[in-house]
């Protein structure tokens, strides 16, 4: 899903930003279990990081907004293990495995937590980048019903290429099971006026990290 409430850049009405003094890393044990389950399941490569994001974005808008951060992570993980046939609804309901499924060859071990570093999403490019730093581009006008990382506020807008970040796994492709399909990734900067018109604050700009298919020459 792309045009739903997770894409909230520029929306009004959510109120003031509330800071919590001396906030703990986790507010309760279940949050820490949900987070660590997601981290431990990730390296099994049963799904991609963008499939994980897409699972949360597929929540109905009112559920997404009513959920806390870790509630969304829990619902997202439940939906993936069900979708991939690892567990059944019945097993989740009773909290017990009813049928042994094929075990993964290697799972996340306690000692793996010593190196919780991020993966590398850069891939060998098949072509050279289409744009160079300083180029003016326009983002595409698109409204896919599947996952994308081009936010609505930055669609069909003129900006400038500020940096080339390498050739990366393309979220729009891998999230729908169409493979990594690596694409060049750029930092694209927009003047606030371009994005928000007369309601823009003076003296500000916004950048997004944009994959090459999101861009056309201006």
């Amino acid at each position: 899903m792309s045009n739903t409430v997770h894409d909230m850049g520029g929306m009004h009405g959510f109120g003031p930003i509330e800071e919590e003094a001396n906030e703990p890393v986790f507010h309760s044990r279940w949050e820490s279990r949900v987070y660590s389950m997601n981290r431990a399941m990730g390296p099994l490569r049963l799904w991609s990081i963008d499939e994980g994001r897409a699972a949360q974005e597929a929540l109905p808008p009112h559920v997404y907004l009513a959920c806390s951060y870790y509630q969304r992570w829990l619902l997202g993980l439940e939906s993936r293990v069900l979708k991939h046939g690892i567990v059944t609804e019945e097993e989740l309901a009773i909290g017990k495995s009813l049928n042994p499924t094929q075990r993964p060859r290697r799972i996340f071990q306690p000692e793996d937590a010593k190196a919780l570093t991020r993966g590398n999403y850069a891939r060998e490019p098949e072509e050279s980048p289409k744009y160079i730093v300083g180029d003016q581009i326009r983002t595409i006008n698109s409204n896919p019903t599947s996952h994308t990382r081009l936010p609505r506020y930055a669609r069909d807008k003129v900006g400038n290429i500020e940096a080339i970040r390498g050739c990366h796994v393309f979220p729009d492709s891998i999230a729908v099971g169409m493979g990594e399909s690596p694409k060049w990734l750029y930092t694209v900067v927009f003047e606030a006026q371009t994005l928000w018109g007369n309601d823009a604050e003076p003296g500000s700009s916004v950048s997004i990290e944009a994959f090459e298919p999101y861009l056309v020459p201006a």
């Binding site: 003031p16 890393v25 660590s36 936010p151 994005l195 003296g203």
Partner: protein, 213 residues
Amino acid sequence: MNEDSKREPHTHGVGDMSELTDVQARAKSLETVLSEKGYLDPKALDAIVEAYETRIGPHNGQRVVARAWTDQNFLASLLADASAAVNSLGNVSPVGSHLIAVQNTSECHNLVVCTLCSCYPWEVLGLPPSWYKSAPYRSRAVIEPRRVLSEFGISLPKTTNIRVWDSTAETRFLVIPMRPTGTEGWTEEELAKLVTRNSMIGAGLALEPEQKS
């Protein structure tokens, strides 16, 4: 809600809010089933939680910033390739790929957000605070950054431009705040104490010498 979903404890993607209740039991249930099936080792979950409650947190970012403030060569490598530069330090837990450092100056103040989810440089800052993941911050940072900063108690001169970084890919951003004046000759350890977590997101400034905790 239809009759079927009333009988079904796990009503995924339904239109009512029943799935938000009993979240502890659901988390426990999922962990038990996945462990019984051999997909998870609960001890590995303990180890991940412990890592984020001890080793992986903003103290790593503080050390990176303090070094950048005191060592021009390190600052240059940090701005060129932050992942490599951070990994060259001995006192910071290792980072993976795609870390990018952006430097605040009197001309430009950087602010980091993820409007689409909650992407954050976990390795150097730990897990994000609730406000960073909240709808108010995610929605407002890109459209009214100056007003957002004012709610964090920051009032920048009109001559300072604000640059908002929306983390829409796997690149992650660490803000290097400006070094406070009056800290000449301070050690890295002393300087690190001035570097707040919020200042490394851009939603704060480094503490002034007299504010040091």
